[in-house]
């Protein structure tokens, strides 16, 4: 036997390499081999991770497994013997579980029941959440006074029913058990009254000197009421100063507006009217972009190949969901984008010199052909010049008033926030400050490193430093006073959405820890500590309301969630003639690498760091959880030999930070993108210590882009990316799980996606064929089904957080994600295709397919997963004994197993947060998407009581409801008139893995792209994007 083995290893080098981890990784990075592989395949070849593309043995093993390696093994420090003992004991007692007596439960009715309150039926209240100062209109679901879910407000044009990840996850922020629970003075618990008494004398002293030593630092504010209060405060203390700072500021947007128009204006886009869209490093389909919910809706509405399709060009330095959706994507370093913008302006006839390239020419020609119906969008991190150029191009092509609208600013007092913070630091350094009030900002953690804010504030000698916020965070640590804030679900407030319309924020629950709203704190600073937030808000709007009957007007406004008619009207502005002057570019240094800073796609600037849903949310492109590695491009990795998970030191202007790297397909060469928001010290048990703090190397003069010296360390760091997990095995060339085509192909052959399919005849099964339209089997005739439009999906993850919130899904933590035990019921897979340095990509949301011939049901020994008469693949948690046969047999890998007790059964805050309509699953239980069966049941019972059929669209699954692009449609497939039936009848409709005869109820609509023929032919001829950069 032995000689044969040796022989085998000799002839099969791949086999040998499994023993040698080092060389295996080297193989994963063998670019030349990968290129060859791509070149040798003729059809489209899709891949999800670079390991998959390289075809590593490790990847193949993973694909054949039900869960990734480690998920089903017992790796924790618990001996095998101990395990068997426990196992034996539990088996012996297994039969006894049914004999458990129900614990004595109590019923606590109201003393006086509120009107309209029906126990067991949720109520919905209109409110809003804010991010970076911009409000998102929401509806909050409340079960007997407990807010349990946040959804979009369908009546507001900024939401149209959709909600982004930040708005939804703010629910968990409110229930965060690590929130600050009392005012604190020098580490001691104090009362609000005690605080008010103390501050009164302090503020009286400031009154005497007209507020000479009084400084207020806030985040960006769009609330008209708060802005009005701060104005009054500044009138009371005329020499006081108001500073604003948020690390993910829009300073460059503001500066660009000043450069172009000489005044601050808000730029809004009308994407429904745009035939051609060019993004200059603008990730406008991602939720941190103000207005993204509406932009995504308008963009996706134009992706229907049967109507007039739009076309998206993206020039970007950081791979983003917007880039994924692009018809044509140009990968440039951030510093090169301005050159591209200038060249584009020049070729459109705005003057200057154009560096000619194929891509540029195509865009310019397309723009000229669509003057008035095209738009350029510049990214927040791009220089003011790029913004000014975008304004100039939009004006030149006559887009203003059509696809671009200028209005008053949304923020109440837009300032250059970096300069504002720099001023404050200067004053602190010069010991001019006696009272420093920090309102909902965390500069000790997130201020640019060169300002040394922590040292400055400690040595400032300020007699009263007050921090107000949700957590006793890094800044609170350095302040004498800390006042615990009320969350936006606990307090009255208001705020403006991206279009300027005012949303009223109403409390859904009394403050859990008696926190105060910002309004109440500012009032206290003015000696009006008895005013409630409600009084302040009402009295402000009493002055604003244009109605004689204020009470009626107010009730309607609070009910609707927004003040009608407050959207900013369009403002006529014209850009200054001429192009912004060229700034001398710093000489390129061969030994350095370009660094781009970005806010984290999930935890934003760090304010969501203690939010388990967000930490565990796979980020759109890298599918990274719990960490923030720096992204490098495959070309750079190949040149330097860096691998994903290698640690490097980044040295920027004398400051350095260590960070792991991640090879991100599509990332430009010689550049690294790092993400802010991680590496927090004082935020809570979830966020403390997760990731790396990149604020430590960010400087105030180059907040978004700089250069660094990069030094590899001989160290690796384990990252928890779910990118390669749950990979589906199929013939990727003939029957890919993701299908797409160009508009021309679609016009020629609309059913191109179905042609790849090989669905067996309905009767080719040994099991009984159920007819779901037979009234003897299924009386009401509902057969639930879903379509997911891959053309519309922008990978924003709103569905994942919605599902998390709706279905009480537990958070498992990084070590568990590493071994593949994450619990998301719906995942958004990213598939790449083509060149690793500039791949095209697609997103595919994958919930349970609810197969009619479900492989999982056949193998369950206890009947815990069975079919309902309406075709749902029911999962009965209380029957499940955890054999995991079902997930082993699921070709879509959508089942999730509670390997451990992941759900938090103890923390009282989390008990309040849970959706009472969905069971909480315990250890040893399989779980999965149920098409939100709790919502189906409610609608069915309501309709039966009213003796009618369920209306089409009456049931929205949580994922569908959150989706800003309406990519997910759910309904009755037995009704030919339902929206889902009509979509399923489209030629684009296809089933994933149809050849397995599973007959999934969830089907996909193939993506159709609308490429520019000018560029398409060039790409086929092999013109590399790298050529464009010259």
């Amino acid at each position: 036997m032995a000689p044969e083995n040796t022989k085998r290893e000799d002839t099969c080098p791949g086999k040998k390499k499994t023993l040698d981890v080092q060389s295996l990784d080297a193989k994963a990075l063998d670019l030349a081999a990968v290129r060859e592989e791509i070149a040798s395949t003729s059809g489209p070849e899709y891949w999800r991770s670079l390991e998959e593309l390289a075809g590593s043995d490790e990847f193949r093993e993973m694909m054949h497994r039900e869960f990734p390696k480690g998920a089903s093994e017992w790796l924790d420090s618990f001996s095998r013997r101990g395990f068997l003992q426990t196992m034996g004991a539990s088996l012996a007692l297994a039969g006894m579980t049914a004999c458990t007596r129900q614990p004595l439960e109590q019923i606590v009715p109201y003393v006086r029941q509120p009107e309209d309150m029906i126990p067991g039926r949720p109520q919905f209240y209109a409110s809003a959440t804010t991010l970076g100062g911009y409000a998102s209109p929401v509806l909050v679901e409340s079960h007997m006074g407990r807010p349990t879910k946040i959804e979009g407000n369908p009546d507001h044009p900024a939401s149209l029913g959709a909600s982004d990840i930040f708005a939804q996850a703010s629910l968990l922020n409110m229930y965060d058990p690590d929130r600050s629970q009392t005012p604190v003075y020098l580490g001691e618990t104090r009362s609000w009254k005690n605080f008010v008494d103390q501050i009164r004398t302090r503020m009286a002293g400031q009154r005497a000197v007209e507020g000479e030593g009084f400084r207020l630092l806030t985040g960006p504010i769009s609330s008209p009421t708060l802005a009005n209060q701060i104005q009054a405060l500044l009138k009371m203390y005329p020499k006081a100063k108001w500073h604003q700072y948020s690390p993910l500021h829009r300073d460059n947007v503001l500066a660009g507006s000043m450069l172009a128009f000489g005044q601050a204006v808000e730029t809004q886009y009308r994407l429904e009217a745009a035939d051609v869209i060019l993004s200059l490093d603008a990730d406008f389909l991602s939720p941190s972009f103000p207005g993204s919910a509406r932009y995504t809706h308008d963009y996706a509405a134009r992706r229907n190949p049967d109507a007039a399709m739009n076309r998206l060009y993206v020039v970007e330095s950081v791979p983003s969901p917007t880039g994924v959706k692009a018809e044509h994507r140009l990968s440039l370093r951030a510093s090169e984008v301005e050159g591209f913008a200038r060249s584009l302006a020049a070729s459109l006839g705005l003057g200057g010199n154009a560096a000619d390239s194929h891509f540029l020419r195509a865009v310019a020609d397309d723009f000229k052909a669509h003057a008035g119906s095209c738009v350029v969008i510049a990214g927040e991190q791009q220089s003011p010049e790029v913004h000014a150029l975008a304004h100039a191009i939009n004006a030149h092509l006559g887009n203003v008033g059509k696809t671009v609208v200028y209005t008053e600013t949304v923020l109440a007092n837009p300032v250059d926030q970096t300069a504002s913070l720099r001023d404050l630091t200067q004053d602190l350094r010069e010991k001019k400050v006696d009272v420093l009030v920090i309102l909902d900002a965390n500069p000790v953690y997130d201020a640019p490193a060169d300002l040394n804010f922590a040292d400055v504030v400690l040595n400032s000698g300020a007699g009263l430093r007050l921090h107000y916020g949700l957590h006793q965070n890094e800044t609170a640590e350095l302040c004498q006073w800390h006042v615990n804030a009320a969350h936006s679900l606990e307090a009255w407030s208001d705020g403006r959405t991206y279009d300027g319309s005012v949303c009223i924020i109403q409390p859904l629950i009394a403050p859990l820890y008696d926190g105060k709203s910002a309004h109440e704190l500012v009032a206290a600073l003015m000696g009006q500590s008895t005013l409630t937030g409600h009084d302040i808000l009402r009295s402000y709007w009493q002055g604003q309301a244009k109605s004689a009957d204020f009470e009626t007007w107010w009730r309607k406004t609070v009910h609707d969630g927004f003040v009608a008619g407050t959207a900013h009207p369009a403002k006529a502005v014209t850009p200054k003639a001429g192009l912004p002057p060229l700034k001398a570019a710093a000489a390129a240094d061969a030994s350095t690498i370009e660094v781009s800073f970005r806010g984290d796609p999930a935890i934003y600037d760090g304010s969501f760091a203690n939010n388990g849903w967000m930490q565990e949310l796979p980020k759109p492109m890298s599918k990274m959880t719990w960490d923030n590695p720096g992204w490098i491009g495959p070309a750079y990795a190949a040149r330097t030999g860096l691998k994903s998970e290698d640690m490097v030191t980044l040295e920027i202007a004398g400051r350095s930070v260590q960070v792991p790297v991640w090879i991100q397909a599509g990332h430009p060469d010689n550049a690294i993108t790092v993400f802010l928001g991680y590496g927090r010290r004082r935020v809570g048990r979830v966020g403390n210590g997760a990731g790396f703090n990149l604020y430590a190397v960010r400087s105030s003069d180059a907040p978004w882009r700089t250069t660094a010296k990069i030094t590899p360390l001989a160290q690796t760091y384990k990252l928890a990316s779910t990118q390669g997990y749950q990979t589906i095995e199929t013939a990727t060339i003939t029957r890919p799980v993701i299908r797409e085509g160009s508009l021309a192909e679609y016009k020629k052959k609309p059913n191109f996606a179905q042609e790849m399919e090989d669905t067996p005849e309905r009767n080719v099964t040994l099991y009984p064929n159920v007819d779901y339209s037979d009234p003897n089997y299924n009386k009401l005739g509902y057969a639930w089904g879903m379509t997911v439009d891959l053309g519309a999906c922008v990978g924003c993850n709103a569905c994942m957080i919605a599902c998390h919130s709706e279905n009480n899904i537990p958070v498992v933590g990084k070590p568990q994600v590493v071994v593949g035990r994450h619990m998301h019921w719906i995942r958004v897979d990213a598939y790449y295709q083509g060149d690793r340095d500039n791949p095209s990509a697609s997103f595919q949301p994958v919930p349970c397919m609810q197969c009619e011939n479900a492989p999982c049901e056949l193998v369950c020994p206890v009947g815990a997963t069975v079919h309902s008469s309406e075709g749902l693949n029911d999962m009965v948690y209380n029957r499940c004994i955890g054999t995991r046969y079902c997930s082993n047999n699921c070709p879509y890998k959508v089942r999730r197993f509670n390997f451990l007790l992941f759900q938090d059964w103890e923390t009282p805050q989390f008990k309040m947060m849970r959706n009472p309509d969905v069971s909480i699953r315990s250890r040893g239980v399989m779980e999965k998407c149920t098409y939100c069966v709790q919502r189906i049941t409610v609608a069915r019972i309501d309709s039966e009581r009213e003796e009618r059929a369920i209306r089409d669209g009456e049931i929205q699954t949580a994922c569908q409801q959150a989706c800003p692009s309406n990519a997910i449609v759910f309904g009755n497939v037995n009704d030919p008139q339902s929206k889902v039936s009509k979509l399923k009848a489209q030629a684009r409709n296809y089933s994933m893995l149809a050849e397995l005869n599973t007959r999934p109820r969830t089907t996909y609509l193939a993506e159709v792209r609308n490429p520019n023929s000018q560029l398409e032919s060039a790409e086929h001829a092999g013109v590399d994007s790298a050529v464009e950069q010259g």
């Binding site: 007596r101 004595l104 019923i107 009715p109 126990p119 019972i941």
Partner: protein
């Protein structure tokens, strides 16, 4: 060599085989019975309550309709336990000084809720909806028993799954016309006492049940025994 065992042992050994089977069976049957016993199910067991509220007095004696207190039984999954205010609607006028009612008055004065023990308590993974059962013609006392004869309240049924399925597998055995749902005196049709429904007299439950199943559009047994009907 002499035999080790006496002949009579044969009898014992045979008897022991039977005994093992019998004892094993008895143990099994015992467990089955135990699981269905009131110790486990609380069927027929009263629990301590803040006020010894008598349904017998209020329902049979005073003739108060179920829905006067259980207001949401027709619209929600919960029937609702009335707020203290509902008690005080009458008891601010009558029995105003009764010592028995002091907890009620105290609750009303202080704003602190009365805390009742839950009697009909389903496991948390079972989702029951009152409104649809009422709507389909399941009478209150079909499940809750002769409430009008209970001075102290107790659960009349086991609320175990086999009990639920008994009706879900053959709802016609129990249904009654909608206008009789809240009638505590209602009796299933018998030869001497027919029940009239839809202008017709029915003398046996089977035919009445089938007529009601058709009239109230009850779903098929396959539908209402699908797992997700109650579990999710």
């Amino acid at each position: 060599m002499a035999q080790i065992f006496h002949r009579s042992i044969n009898l014992y050994s045979k008897a022991s085989i039977v005994a093992v089977v019998l004892l094993g069976g008895a143990a099994f049957a015992g467990l089955f019975a135990f699981e269905r016993s009131p110790y486990i199910t609380y069927q027929g067991v009263t629990k301590p309550q803040p006020v010894p509220f008598s349904h017998q007095h209020h329902v049979a004696g005073l003739g108060i309709d179920c829905r006067y207190c259980h207001t949401t039984v027709e619209t929600s999954n919960y029937a609702s336990i009335p707020p203290t205010k509902t008690c005080m609607n009458c008891h601010s006028q009558i029995w105003t000084n009764a010592a028995l009612l002091e907890p009620v008055r105290d609750s009303y004065r202080s704003g602190r809720s009365l805390v009742w023990s839950k009697l009909n308590d389903l496991p948390d993974y079972v989702y029951f909806n009152h409104s649809i059962h009422i709507n389909k013609g399941v009478g209150c006392n079909t499940c809750h028993g002769p409430v009008d004869k209970m001075p102290l309240m107790y659960a009349a049924s086991t609320l175990q799954m086999e009990w639920c399925l008994d009706c879900h597998r053959a709802p016609e055995k129990y249904l009654r016309p909608r206008d009789e749902v809240f009638n505590m005196e209602y009796k299933q049709p018998a030869n001497g006492e027919p029940v009239s429904f839809d202008g017709k007299d029915y003398t046996d439950q089977k035919t009445l049940g089938m007529a009601l199943v058709a009239k109230y559009h009850l779903r098929n047994v396959t539908d209402i025994t699908s797992c997700s009907t109650c579990h999710r």
